[in-house]
Protein backbone atom coordinates (compact mmCIF):
# COMPACT_ATOMS: atom_id res chain seq x y z
CA UNK A 1 0.00 0.00 0.00
CA UNK A 2 1.50 3.32 -0.92
CA UNK A 3 1.79 6.25 1.45
CA UNK A 4 -1.23 8.23 0.21
CA UNK A 5 -3.62 5.29 0.48
CA UNK A 6 -2.26 4.44 3.90
CA UNK A 7 -2.81 7.95 5.17
CA UNK A 8 -6.26 8.21 3.61
CA UNK A 9 -7.25 5.02 5.34
CA UNK A 10 -5.89 6.31 8.67
CA UNK A 11 -7.94 9.48 8.25
CA UNK A 12 -11.12 7.62 7.33
CA UNK A 13 -10.71 5.16 10.16
CA UNK A 14 -9.96 7.84 12.72
CA UNK A 15 -12.82 10.11 11.73
CA UNK A 16 -15.56 7.63 10.87
CA UNK A 17 -15.09 3.92 11.51
CA UNK A 18 -12.98 4.03 14.66
CA UNK A 19 -14.37 7.27 15.96
CA UNK A 20 -12.61 8.17 19.17
CA UNK A 21 -15.75 8.89 21.18
CA UNK A 22 -18.43 6.79 19.58
CA UNK A 23 -16.59 3.56 19.05
CA UNK A 24 -13.47 3.68 21.24
CA UNK A 25 -15.08 5.39 24.24
CA UNK A 26 -12.27 7.85 24.80
CA UNK A 27 -13.10 11.37 25.94
CA UNK A 28 -16.62 10.63 27.08
CA UNK A 29 -16.49 13.27 29.83
CA UNK A 30 -16.13 16.26 27.51
CA UNK A 31 -18.43 14.55 25.02
CA UNK A 32 -21.24 14.53 27.58
CA UNK A 33 -20.12 17.55 29.59
CA UNK A 34 -19.17 20.22 27.08
CA UNK A 35 -21.62 19.40 24.30
CA UNK A 36 -24.49 21.57 25.39
CA UNK A 37 -23.91 24.23 22.77
CA UNK A 38 -22.48 23.85 19.29
CA UNK A 39 -20.11 26.77 19.80
CA UNK A 40 -18.46 25.46 22.98
CA UNK A 41 -18.31 21.97 21.47
CA UNK A 42 -16.44 23.37 18.48
CA UNK A 43 -13.87 25.30 20.53
CA UNK A 44 -13.27 22.38 22.86
CA UNK A 45 -12.68 19.96 19.99
CA UNK A 46 -10.29 22.33 18.23
CA UNK A 47 -8.28 22.63 21.44
CA UNK A 48 -8.29 18.83 21.83
CA UNK A 49 -7.12 18.29 18.25
CA UNK A 50 -4.32 20.82 18.67
CA UNK A 51 -3.09 19.22 21.89
CA UNK A 52 -3.38 15.70 20.46
CA UNK A 53 -1.19 16.49 17.44
CA UNK A 54 1.43 18.35 19.47
CA UNK A 55 1.43 15.70 22.22
CA UNK A 56 1.94 12.98 19.61
CA UNK A 57 4.77 14.94 18.01
CA UNK A 58 6.52 15.08 21.38
CA UNK A 59 5.72 11.68 22.90
CA UNK A 60 6.46 9.62 19.78
CA UNK A 61 10.18 10.50 19.63
CA UNK A 62 10.49 10.16 23.42
CA UNK A 63 9.02 6.69 23.28
CA UNK A 64 10.92 5.55 20.20
CA UNK A 65 14.35 6.86 21.11
CA UNK A 66 14.38 6.77 24.89
CA UNK A 67 11.77 4.47 26.39
CA UNK A 68 11.23 1.70 23.88
CA UNK A 69 14.12 -0.57 24.67
CA UNK A 70 14.44 -0.88 28.40
CA UNK A 71 12.41 1.83 30.08
CA UNK A 72 9.04 0.68 28.81
CA UNK A 73 7.55 0.57 32.30
CA UNK A 74 7.91 4.34 32.55
CA UNK A 75 5.62 4.88 29.56
CA UNK A 76 2.47 5.78 31.50
CA UNK A 77 4.21 8.14 33.93
CA UNK A 78 6.29 9.88 31.28
CA UNK A 79 3.40 10.32 28.86
CA UNK A 80 1.03 11.90 31.35
CA UNK A 81 3.71 14.26 32.66
CA UNK A 82 4.76 15.25 29.15
CA UNK A 83 1.14 15.92 28.22
CA UNK A 84 0.60 18.01 31.34
CA UNK A 85 3.73 20.02 30.58
CA UNK A 86 2.77 20.49 26.93
CA UNK A 87 -0.66 21.76 27.84
CA UNK A 88 0.89 24.30 30.20
CA UNK A 89 3.38 25.38 27.55
CA UNK A 90 0.73 25.75 24.86
CA UNK A 91 -1.26 27.87 27.24
CA UNK A 92 1.69 30.15 28.00
CA UNK A 93 2.74 30.48 24.34
CA UNK A 94 -0.77 31.20 23.11
CA UNK A 95 -1.30 33.77 25.84
CA UNK A 96 1.87 35.61 24.91
CA UNK A 97 1.91 35.40 21.13
CA UNK A 98 -1.59 34.70 19.82
CA UNK A 99 -4.00 36.28 22.32
CA UNK A 100 -7.14 35.94 20.13
CA UNK A 101 -6.71 32.16 19.94
CA UNK A 102 -5.92 32.05 23.64
CA UNK A 103 -9.12 33.92 24.31
CA UNK A 104 -11.14 31.40 22.31
CA UNK A 105 -9.46 28.17 23.43
CA UNK A 106 -7.48 28.99 26.57
CA UNK A 107 -10.28 28.11 28.90
CA UNK A 108 -10.47 24.56 27.56
CA UNK A 109 -6.79 23.80 27.88
CA UNK A 110 -6.65 22.91 31.62
CA UNK A 111 -9.46 20.44 31.00
CA UNK A 112 -7.42 18.58 28.46
CA UNK A 113 -4.62 17.36 30.73
CA UNK A 114 -6.84 14.79 32.35
CA UNK A 115 -8.69 13.97 29.15
CA UNK A 116 -8.30 10.30 28.40
CA UNK A 117 -8.58 10.95 24.66
CA UNK A 118 -5.21 12.70 24.57
CA UNK A 119 -3.31 10.15 26.66
CA UNK A 120 -5.21 7.40 24.84
CA UNK A 121 -4.24 8.49 21.36
CA UNK A 122 -0.56 8.96 22.21
CA UNK A 123 -0.46 5.47 23.76
CA UNK A 124 -2.36 3.90 20.87
CA UNK A 125 0.06 5.45 18.38
CA UNK A 126 3.11 3.87 19.97
CA UNK A 127 1.38 0.59 20.81
CA UNK A 128 0.26 0.10 17.23
CA UNK A 129 3.83 0.76 16.01
CA UNK A 130 2.80 3.55 13.68
CA UNK A 131 5.64 5.56 12.16
CA UNK A 132 6.02 9.24 12.98
CA UNK A 133 4.05 10.69 10.06
CA UNK A 134 1.23 8.15 10.39
CA UNK A 135 1.07 8.89 14.12
CA UNK A 136 0.61 12.59 13.44
CA UNK A 137 -2.13 11.89 10.91
CA UNK A 138 -3.74 9.42 13.28
CA UNK A 139 -3.79 12.04 16.04
CA UNK A 140 -5.23 14.61 13.65
CA UNK A 141 -7.87 12.13 12.46
CA UNK A 142 -8.80 11.23 16.03
CA UNK A 143 -9.15 14.92 16.88
CA UNK A 144 -11.29 15.54 13.83
CA UNK A 145 -13.41 12.52 14.68
CA UNK A 146 -13.86 13.94 18.16
CA UNK A 147 -14.88 17.27 16.62
CA UNK A 148 -17.41 15.61 14.34
CA UNK A 149 -18.94 13.60 17.16
CA UNK A 150 -19.07 16.62 19.48
CA UNK A 151 -20.75 18.86 16.94
CA UNK A 152 -23.29 16.26 15.83
CA UNK A 153 -24.10 15.50 19.43
CA UNK A 154 -24.33 19.15 20.43
CA UNK A 155 -26.87 19.54 17.63
CA UNK A 156 -28.85 16.57 18.95
CA UNK A 157 -28.76 17.96 22.47
CA UNK A 158 -29.97 21.37 21.41
CA UNK A 159 -33.02 19.60 19.96
CA UNK A 160 -33.43 17.54 23.14
CA UNK A 161 -33.80 20.72 25.18
CA UNK A 162 -37.24 21.32 23.76
CA UNK A 163 -38.26 17.70 23.31
CA UNK A 164 -40.94 16.03 25.38
CA UNK A 165 -39.02 13.39 27.33
CA UNK A 166 -40.53 10.58 29.40
CA UNK A 167 -40.24 11.39 33.09
CA UNK A 168 -37.91 8.52 34.03
CA UNK A 169 -35.41 9.36 31.30
CA UNK A 170 -35.08 13.05 32.12
CA UNK A 171 -31.58 14.38 32.64
CA UNK A 172 -28.54 12.24 32.04
CA UNK A 173 -30.30 9.01 30.88
CA UNK A 174 -31.82 10.62 27.78
CA UNK A 175 -28.44 12.16 26.95
CA UNK A 176 -26.88 8.70 27.09
CA UNK A 177 -29.62 7.18 24.99
CA UNK A 178 -29.22 9.95 22.42
CA UNK A 179 -25.50 9.15 22.42
CA UNK A 180 -26.37 5.49 21.81
CA UNK A 181 -28.36 6.49 18.73
CA UNK A 182 -25.60 8.73 17.38
CA UNK A 183 -23.13 5.91 17.99
CA UNK A 184 -25.48 3.48 16.22
CA UNK A 185 -25.50 5.69 13.16
CA UNK A 186 -21.70 5.64 13.14
CA UNK A 187 -21.77 1.83 13.01
CA UNK A 188 -23.04 2.33 9.48
CA UNK A 189 -19.58 3.50 8.46
CA UNK A 190 -18.02 0.13 9.36
CA UNK A 191 -15.93 -1.17 6.51
CA UNK A 192 -15.02 2.19 5.00
CA UNK A 193 -11.29 2.69 4.58
CA UNK A 194 -10.43 -0.92 5.43
Amino acid sequence: MNKVTAITSILLAGILTNNMVLSKFLGICPFLGVSKKVKTALSMSIAVTLVMVIATAVTWPIDTYILKDNLNYLQTVVFILVIAAIVQLIEIVLKKYIPPIYKALGIYLPLITTNCAVLGITLLNVQNNLDFVSSLFNAFAAGTGFLLAMILFAGVRERLETADIPEFLKGLPITLIAAALVSLSFLGFAGIGG
Binding site: G33, Q75, K170, A180, L187
Partner: protein, 233 residues
Protein backbone atom coordinates in the same frame (compact mmCIF):
# COMPACT_ATOMS: atom_id res chain seq x y z
CA UNK B 1 -16.06 3.39 64.19
CA UNK B 2 -19.51 4.26 62.94
CA UNK B 3 -18.08 7.25 61.15
CA UNK B 4 -15.40 5.14 59.51
CA UNK B 5 -18.01 2.69 58.34
CA UNK B 6 -19.86 5.60 56.79
CA UNK B 7 -16.78 6.57 54.77
CA UNK B 8 -16.64 3.04 53.49
CA UNK B 9 -20.30 2.53 52.57
CA UNK B 10 -20.63 6.01 51.12
CA UNK B 11 -18.94 5.01 47.87
CA UNK B 12 -20.88 1.81 47.43
CA UNK B 13 -24.43 3.14 47.35
CA UNK B 14 -25.08 6.74 48.19
CA UNK B 15 -22.20 8.17 46.21
CA UNK B 16 -21.64 5.31 43.81
CA UNK B 17 -18.94 6.75 41.54
CA UNK B 18 -20.45 5.62 38.25
CA UNK B 19 -24.18 5.91 38.84
CA UNK B 20 -24.40 8.77 41.33
CA UNK B 21 -21.27 10.83 40.74
CA UNK B 22 -21.06 9.83 37.05
CA UNK B 23 -17.28 9.72 37.00
CA UNK B 24 -15.11 7.32 35.07
CA UNK B 25 -17.59 6.95 32.26
CA UNK B 26 -15.03 5.95 29.64
CA UNK B 27 -13.92 2.64 31.19
CA UNK B 28 -17.49 1.98 32.34
CA UNK B 29 -18.68 2.01 28.76
CA UNK B 30 -15.63 0.52 27.12
CA UNK B 31 -14.70 -2.56 29.10
CA UNK B 32 -18.11 -3.86 30.14
CA UNK B 33 -18.61 -6.18 27.19
CA UNK B 34 -18.13 -9.10 29.59
CA UNK B 35 -18.65 -9.43 33.34
CA UNK B 36 -15.10 -10.69 33.81
CA UNK B 37 -13.63 -7.53 32.27
CA UNK B 38 -15.81 -5.42 34.53
CA UNK B 39 -14.40 -7.14 37.62
CA UNK B 40 -10.84 -6.87 36.32
CA UNK B 41 -11.13 -3.18 35.56
CA UNK B 42 -12.90 -2.51 38.85
CA UNK B 43 -10.28 -4.28 40.94
CA UNK B 44 -7.39 -2.61 39.11
CA UNK B 45 -8.96 0.80 39.69
CA UNK B 46 -9.70 -0.08 43.33
CA UNK B 47 -6.07 -0.99 43.95
CA UNK B 48 -4.89 2.30 42.48
CA UNK B 49 -7.57 4.25 44.32
CA UNK B 50 -6.71 2.81 47.74
CA UNK B 51 -2.95 3.25 47.28
CA UNK B 52 -3.16 6.75 45.83
CA UNK B 53 -5.64 7.88 48.48
CA UNK B 54 -3.31 6.60 51.20
CA UNK B 55 -0.20 8.19 49.68
CA UNK B 56 -1.88 11.51 48.97
CA UNK B 57 -3.39 11.66 52.41
CA UNK B 58 0.05 11.06 53.95
CA UNK B 59 1.60 13.74 51.77
CA UNK B 60 -1.25 16.23 52.02
CA UNK B 61 0.67 18.62 54.25
CA UNK B 62 3.84 18.40 52.17
CA UNK B 63 2.43 19.03 48.71
CA UNK B 64 2.17 22.77 47.99
CA UNK B 65 -1.33 23.81 47.05
CA UNK B 66 -0.32 25.32 43.72
CA UNK B 67 1.18 22.19 42.23
CA UNK B 68 -1.14 19.70 43.88
CA UNK B 69 -2.86 18.46 40.70
CA UNK B 70 0.41 17.58 38.87
CA UNK B 71 1.68 16.00 42.10
CA UNK B 72 -1.48 13.91 42.44
CA UNK B 73 -1.27 12.83 38.81
CA UNK B 74 2.35 11.74 39.25
CA UNK B 75 1.52 9.69 42.35
CA UNK B 76 -1.46 8.10 40.60
CA UNK B 77 0.62 7.36 37.49
CA UNK B 78 3.19 5.60 39.65
CA UNK B 79 0.60 3.30 41.18
CA UNK B 80 -1.02 2.69 37.79
CA UNK B 81 2.32 1.51 36.42
CA UNK B 82 2.66 -0.90 39.33
CA UNK B 83 -0.83 -2.30 38.78
CA UNK B 84 -0.22 -2.47 35.05
CA UNK B 85 2.93 -4.57 35.50
CA UNK B 86 1.19 -6.74 38.07
CA UNK B 87 -1.77 -7.47 35.79
CA UNK B 88 0.52 -8.10 32.84
CA UNK B 89 2.44 -10.67 34.84
CA UNK B 90 -0.39 -12.46 36.63
CA UNK B 91 -3.50 -11.99 34.49
CA UNK B 92 -2.37 -11.55 30.89
CA UNK B 93 -5.84 -12.31 29.51
CA UNK B 94 -7.34 -9.44 31.53
CA UNK B 95 -4.49 -7.21 30.37
CA UNK B 96 -5.37 -8.07 26.81
CA UNK B 97 -9.08 -7.41 27.12
CA UNK B 98 -8.65 -4.15 29.03
CA UNK B 99 -5.97 -2.99 26.60
CA UNK B 100 -5.48 0.74 26.56
CA UNK B 101 -7.90 1.28 29.44
CA UNK B 102 -5.46 -0.14 31.96
CA UNK B 103 -2.89 2.68 31.58
CA UNK B 104 -5.81 5.08 31.20
CA UNK B 105 -6.69 4.56 34.88
CA UNK B 106 -4.28 7.50 35.34
CA UNK B 107 -6.83 9.86 33.87
CA UNK B 108 -9.84 8.13 35.39
CA UNK B 109 -11.62 11.05 37.01
CA UNK B 110 -12.77 8.98 40.00
CA UNK B 111 -9.22 8.67 41.24
CA UNK B 112 -8.22 12.29 40.78
CA UNK B 113 -11.58 13.40 42.14
CA UNK B 114 -11.19 11.39 45.35
CA UNK B 115 -7.62 12.67 45.72
CA UNK B 116 -8.78 16.24 45.35
CA UNK B 117 -12.05 16.03 47.25
CA UNK B 118 -11.22 13.57 49.98
CA UNK B 119 -7.67 12.34 50.46
CA UNK B 120 -6.11 15.80 50.38
CA UNK B 121 -8.36 16.87 53.25
CA UNK B 122 -8.57 13.78 55.46
CA UNK B 123 -6.26 11.54 57.43
CA UNK B 124 -5.07 8.16 56.25
CA UNK B 125 -7.65 5.74 57.63
CA UNK B 126 -10.73 7.56 56.32
CA UNK B 127 -8.96 8.09 52.98
CA UNK B 128 -8.18 4.40 52.61
CA UNK B 129 -11.74 3.44 53.56
CA UNK B 130 -13.13 6.02 51.15
CA UNK B 131 -10.92 4.66 48.38
CA UNK B 132 -11.95 1.11 49.18
CA UNK B 133 -15.65 1.98 49.23
CA UNK B 134 -15.48 3.96 46.01
CA UNK B 135 -13.48 1.17 44.39
CA UNK B 136 -15.98 -1.46 45.42
CA UNK B 137 -18.85 0.71 44.22
CA UNK B 138 -17.10 1.11 40.88
CA UNK B 139 -16.38 -2.63 40.65
CA UNK B 140 -20.00 -3.55 41.46
CA UNK B 141 -21.46 -1.24 38.83
CA UNK B 142 -18.99 -2.39 36.21
CA UNK B 143 -19.66 -6.03 36.97
CA UNK B 144 -23.41 -5.51 36.90
CA UNK B 145 -23.18 -3.71 33.59
CA UNK B 146 -20.83 -6.35 32.24
CA UNK B 147 -23.28 -9.07 33.25
CA UNK B 148 -26.21 -7.33 31.59
CA UNK B 149 -24.33 -6.68 28.37
CA UNK B 150 -22.80 -10.14 28.27
CA UNK B 151 -26.18 -11.76 28.92
CA UNK B 152 -28.04 -9.79 26.29
CA UNK B 153 -25.27 -9.65 23.75
CA UNK B 154 -23.72 -13.07 24.06
CA UNK B 155 -26.18 -15.20 26.03
CA UNK B 156 -23.63 -15.93 28.75
CA UNK B 157 -22.82 -14.61 32.22
CA UNK B 158 -19.20 -14.87 33.41
CA UNK B 159 -18.63 -17.10 30.39
CA UNK B 160 -21.28 -19.59 31.49
CA UNK B 161 -24.00 -20.36 28.98
CA UNK B 162 -27.42 -19.06 29.92
CA UNK B 163 -29.48 -18.55 26.82
CA UNK B 164 -26.76 -18.98 24.21
CA UNK B 165 -27.79 -21.60 21.68
CA UNK B 166 -31.49 -21.21 22.46
CA UNK B 167 -32.06 -17.55 21.77
CA UNK B 168 -30.13 -15.56 19.22
CA UNK B 169 -28.13 -13.01 21.24
CA UNK B 170 -28.50 -9.32 20.47
CA UNK B 171 -24.99 -8.49 19.41
CA UNK B 172 -25.78 -4.77 19.45
CA UNK B 173 -25.38 -4.85 23.25
CA UNK B 174 -21.73 -5.73 22.86
CA UNK B 175 -21.21 -2.90 20.39
CA UNK B 176 -20.68 0.74 21.45
CA UNK B 177 -24.37 1.80 21.15
CA UNK B 178 -25.33 -0.98 23.58
CA UNK B 179 -22.86 0.44 26.10
CA UNK B 180 -24.43 3.89 26.01
CA UNK B 181 -27.92 2.42 26.11
CA UNK B 182 -27.40 0.07 29.06
CA UNK B 183 -25.62 2.81 30.99
CA UNK B 184 -28.49 5.20 30.28
CA UNK B 185 -31.02 2.71 31.59
CA UNK B 186 -28.93 1.99 34.69
CA UNK B 187 -28.64 5.69 35.46
CA UNK B 188 -32.39 6.12 35.02
CA UNK B 189 -33.01 3.22 37.43
CA UNK B 190 -30.61 4.66 39.98
CA UNK B 191 -32.33 8.02 39.54
CA UNK B 192 -35.71 6.42 40.17
CA UNK B 193 -34.35 4.85 43.34
CA UNK B 194 -32.80 8.13 44.46
CA UNK B 195 -36.08 9.91 43.84
CA UNK B 196 -37.93 7.42 45.99
CA UNK B 197 -35.52 8.12 48.81
CA UNK B 198 -35.85 11.86 48.36
CA UNK B 199 -32.30 12.28 47.10
CA UNK B 200 -31.07 14.41 44.25
CA UNK B 201 -31.33 12.85 40.81
CA UNK B 202 -28.47 13.02 38.33
CA UNK B 203 -29.34 15.61 35.72
CA UNK B 204 -25.98 16.19 34.21
CA UNK B 205 -22.69 14.40 34.03
CA UNK B 206 -20.97 14.43 37.44
CA UNK B 207 -20.03 18.09 37.45
CA UNK B 208 -20.16 18.79 41.14
CA UNK B 209 -17.75 15.96 41.82
CA UNK B 210 -15.48 16.48 38.85
CA UNK B 211 -11.88 17.44 39.63
CA UNK B 212 -11.88 19.87 36.70
CA UNK B 213 -15.13 21.50 37.60
CA UNK B 214 -13.77 24.99 38.11
CA UNK B 215 -12.24 25.14 34.62
CA UNK B 216 -15.10 23.37 32.97
CA UNK B 217 -17.64 25.69 34.43
CA UNK B 218 -15.97 28.67 32.85
CA UNK B 219 -15.60 26.83 29.56
CA UNK B 220 -19.13 25.60 29.59
CA UNK B 221 -20.66 28.95 30.44
CA UNK B 222 -22.18 27.69 33.63
CA UNK B 223 -23.84 24.63 32.15
CA UNK B 224 -22.89 22.63 35.23
CA UNK B 225 -24.62 25.11 37.44
CA UNK B 226 -27.95 25.48 35.77
CA UNK B 227 -29.32 22.01 36.30
CA UNK B 228 -28.84 20.74 39.76
CA UNK B 229 -32.47 20.29 40.51
CA UNK B 230 -33.48 18.87 43.84
CA UNK B 231 -36.37 16.46 43.66
CA UNK B 232 -39.66 17.90 44.79
CA UNK B 233 -40.23 16.62 48.28
Amino acid sequence: MGKNLKYFTNGILEENPTLRLVLGTCPTLAVTTAAKNGIGMGLAATAVLVCSNAAISLLRKVIPDKVRIPAFITIIAGFVSVVQMFVKAFAPSIDKSLGIFLPLIVVNCIILARAEMFASKNSVLPSVLDGLGMGIGFTCTLTLMGMIREFLGNGTVFGLTVTAGHITPMIIFLLPPGGFFVFGILVSLSNALAKKKGKKIVEHIGCENCPSRSFCEKANEGACEEKEAVVNE
